[in-house]
Symmetry: none
Subunit: 204 residues, 4 copies
Amino acid sequence: MNEDKKVKEKILEKSIKAFLSKGFRGTTTKEITSAAGVAKGTLYWHFKSKDEILDAILEKFLKEFVGGISDTVTNSSENFVGKFKAFFKFGSEFSRDNLELMLVYQTLLGEIVGSKSKAEMKMKVIQNRYDHLVQTLLDEGKKEGVISEDVDTYIHARIMTAALIGSYLQWYLNAGSYDSEYVRLYAMTIRKTLLKWVGVEIDR
Amino acid sequence: MNEDKKVKEKILEKSIKAFLSKGFRGTTTKEITSAAGVAKGTLYWHFKSKDEILDAILEKFLKEFVGGISDTVTNSSENFVGKFKAFFKFGSEFSRDNLELMLVYQTLLGEIVGSKSKAEMKMKVIQNRYDHLVQTLLDEGKKEGVISEDVDTYIHARIMTAALIGSYLQWYLNAGSYDSEYVRLYAMTIRKTLLKWVGVEIDR
Amino acid sequence: MNEDKKVKEKILEKSIKAFLSKGFRGTTTKEITSAAGVAKGTLYWHFKSKDEILDAILEKFLKEFVGGISDTVTNSSENFVGKFKAFFKFGSEFSRDNLELMLVYQTLLGEIVGSKSKAEMKMKVIQNRYDHLVQTLLDEGKKEGVISEDVDTYIHARIMTAALIGSYLQWYLNAGSYDSEYVRLYAMTIRKTLLKWVGVEIDR
Amino acid sequence: MNEDKKVKEKILEKSIKAFLSKGFRGTTTKEITSAAGVAKGTLYWHFKSKDEILDAILEKFLKEFVGGISDTVTNSSENFVGKFKAFFKFGSEFSRDNLELMLVYQTLLGEIVGSKSKAEMKMKVIQNRYDHLVQTLLDEGKKEGVISEDVDTYIHARIMTAALIGSYLQWYLNAGSYDSEYVRLYAMTIRKTLLKWVGVEIDR
DNA sequence: GATGAATGAGCATTCATTCAT
DNA sequence: TATGAATGAATGCTCATTCAT
């Protein structure tokens, strides 16, 4: 039904907001249901457990963000620079439109890493998929001669990801609110910088 | 007394280990005391609360790492490149010798950010102190003409920090264990890369 | 719902019994829930805290006893002696029907007095309301010329209350069980005596 | 030793103060030792347990107050009115000089009654001894013809005690501080009233 | 006599989850 | 589908008591 989806979606949305500011373990099901305006039982009708909400969030991130950015790059018929621009464009726009989803993911990383849970497993999958995408992209740049031979694409792919992960945390820690001008400036700068890393001068 | 310090230190050490793998909220006082081989009450003799353990960890990080790296840079009489090398050397060596302390900090970031707690306050202080140090360093490079005029040191300082934060999380997520060759390789690569960002060719 | 009231009422009832014999601080929530035949969590579904149970008991005492006896006296259109009889009748019957409620109040007095808690505040309200009622009653007797001019109604009202408070403790200490003939005898004697204090010969 | 007595006495004194405002169970040994300026272990060197402090307080009350007032009455060679005056004089002066000891006793009554503890046993002994003393006194008044035949001395002795117990609680609840003029006025009034109860006009 | 670090049973409270309605 | 009262294991923390120094 349509109503169903709305309720489930609302629970998910409020969960993301809550996890964002209090962490996964720090958020109670009561807080989620209160925010969503439903009863406790309703949450458990839509999700088997609190862990399943976490799983749904990661699934959403995997499908919408990683899947989306992967499709964008894969389906592009352009060369490395074109693909890289598309890659960045998708990331920027997705972050702008789904900032909270981006943020929870980064925020939950530290809390879940090392927990040996199903969620950690999923995070590794996500991370690997993303890293692999970037590495493949960099390799293509290498093949085209745009990126010099001595760049270790494996490491550089991971550094790029790291810089992005860390940046979300930084924004959040510094800004508190996250839709500031600072964020936009940061994003632009990091894009250029990341390319400079690998020796590509873009935008000129 | 000497014994006293040892017990308190042991609790702190085991807390770091535990927070690292299960997060702050995910770690119980029982787990900490069991690991430290002391009774529940002993923890509360040395610390007023679980929160105070967290505070002690952040304090340790602030004093030993941020304080140490700050002193290193401030006390150096070298030019930008020399200072930057010293900055990196301290960071690398400290990470090697106190890897868990470095990791908990990064790991706890996401869990604490947004919590409006005393710990978040302290994290902001730490972050600002560190960012400011890096920015000042980059500014010096600019004055010396090593870094080009159009580099926004405010942003770049924060990107550097972000890359480092993110890298710790990545190592931890990927490696599980953290004293691998990969970590060393990563550290070296990131050092060069960070300098390339700001337009400096080092090591040659 | 009806069921709801029953469970909450049962917890309250068992709390009264428990506080009566072990004091407030000496009673554990385990004891209350075991006696009420509910799980630990159920207590906290109906009451926010153990303190709130205490508050509910005092509220009950204030509403049912002090409110009731106040209404009885206020609504009576009789003269002083008639009102005093009604006052005593209500007190005796209420004590007979709600002996435990009367007893906990007196029993908790000493434990709570001086604690600077919300409960102590409420006790002061109760005490003042009750003392004021008695004083007003005695003042009426004075106006009617039944009580002599030189009686300090302020002090006498408080002595009356004191005698009653003390008597409940005495019964409880001496009798252990509290529905004895002794109690009835004591009550009758104290009634006459209290009137003799203020110079009124009743019952003849 | 002399020093020993001083320390033990100080612990006792601070315990009385503490029990008075927070009750027996509400007072921690830490609070007592902090107030007394000694270490935790010192308390346990002088007293076997916290309960033993309570016992020492009751013992002190029994010996100094009940014993004292009993001796006063017994050793007096006067008639009923003279003895009654002496009885009241001792009580008033003792209360004035040892107000806190008087107050703890009354304050602890409700907390301990019904606890089936050793302390409750002792309280019963104290209460009986005191009640018996008063009753014997009233009986003597009866024999002298000062108190009318139809006065039930058993009940009246207990009412007198009750009025006194209750009065201490009232003072404490109303006044907060307890060395006010009000207390003195109260005491004088109750003395006259108690005698009027049994039909004796004193002081004129 | 005195100290205070260490102990661990016990406490009030929380919270994910269940289930009858 | 939705509710919310009920559950009870688990948690952070307290505190009387012990004991090596």
